[in-house]
């Protein structure tokens, strides 16, 4: 029972060494399981889409659509932000997080009116994502076209 107590200096060093590590580890674990779980939900929706006889192109559209509906609705009732506080990137990176980034600023700026408030703020985060995503897809398409020899 006669343990050697830490000196204040040793204790601070120990705290500095242990705290960030466990905080980081916890962040990674939470992001991992929540992100993985949302992807499993997507997988379940894809399997469901197959029973609805949706094709290879339309089944992912169905999955994405349902996940986005879920993401925006959970944002509307204030639940998604709480999931976000817990899961970090685990809820931000899946497409439900994209839906959240569309709905959240639009809801937040509702009082600025339906046009310059809601209408414009829908694209606060979606705007940059779409701009750079679409531009990259054009670049990829053109490079692919050149790689094929530039045939019409």
């Amino acid at each position: 029972m006669n343990r050697q107590p830490f000196s204040p200096g040793e204790y601070r060093a120990l705290v500095a060494r242990m705290t960030p590590k466990s905080r980081f580890l916890r962040g990674y674990l939470r992001a991992f399981w929540v992100g993985g779980a949302i992807c499993c939900l997507g997988q379940a929706l894809t399997l469901w889409a197959e029973t609805l006889h949706l094709g290879e192109v339309t089944a992912p559209m169905f999955t994405t659509g349902v996940l986005i509906l879920l993401g925006t609705t959970l944002t509307g009732i204030g639940v998604y932000d709480r999931i976000g506080k817990y899961a970090g990137a685990g809820s931000a990176i899946p497409v439900t997080g994209f839906a959240n980034s569309v709905a959240a600023p639009a809801i937040e700026f509702r009082r600025e009116g339906p046009v310059t408030g809601v209408g414009a703020r829908l694209f606060t985060l979606a705007g940059p994502v779409l701009a750079y995503g679409i531009a990259t897809s054009v670049l990829v398409g053109l490079v692919y076209w050149l790689g094929k020899g530039g045939a019409a």
């Binding site: 962040g27 379940a44 929706l45 994405t64 497409v95 076209w145």
Partner: protein, 122 residues
């Protein structure tokens, strides 16, 4: 049993992709918006290099549900449209393939913003 394996792959790959995002949150000062942009652009570029399609074939929703999968849709759409229509397809294919997702986000986002009032910050 095979279904279970499908879900396990989606869980692990999806979780790992989210952990890449978590690493950016924890170890860089990048804003949320920049991280989302980085993910979509990376997904599109990896697709162009032919590296993302194998991951989608392996992990299914584990690769398509994270935002890199949105980039994958955009780039795959552009590539397939180039095969069909030539260079003009590079300008039409990406948005066409992603149209359902973008429309869902805008319409459901709009509906929610009109239905719900801002929640008090906790």
């Amino acid at each position: 049993m095979e279904t279970l394996w499908t879900f396990a792959k989606a869980f692990v790959v999806g979780g790992l992709i989210c952990d890449v995002g978590q690493a950016l949150i924890l170890h860089t000062k990048l804003t949320n918006a920049r991280i989302l942009v980085i993910f979509v652009v990376s997904g599109a570029l990896l697709t162009g290099l032919g590296l993302y399609k194998p991951l989608v074939d392996f992990a299914g929703a584990g690769a398509t549900v994270p935002l890199t999968g949105f980039g994958y849709s955009l780039a795959m759409g552009a590539i397939e449209a180039v095969n069909r229509y030539g260079w003009i397809g590079a300008f039409s294919g990406g948005v066409a393939r992603a149209a359902a997702g973008v429309t869902a986000a805008v319409v459901f986002g709009l509906a929610n913003a009109l239905l719900f009032t801002p929640k008090a910050k906790r």
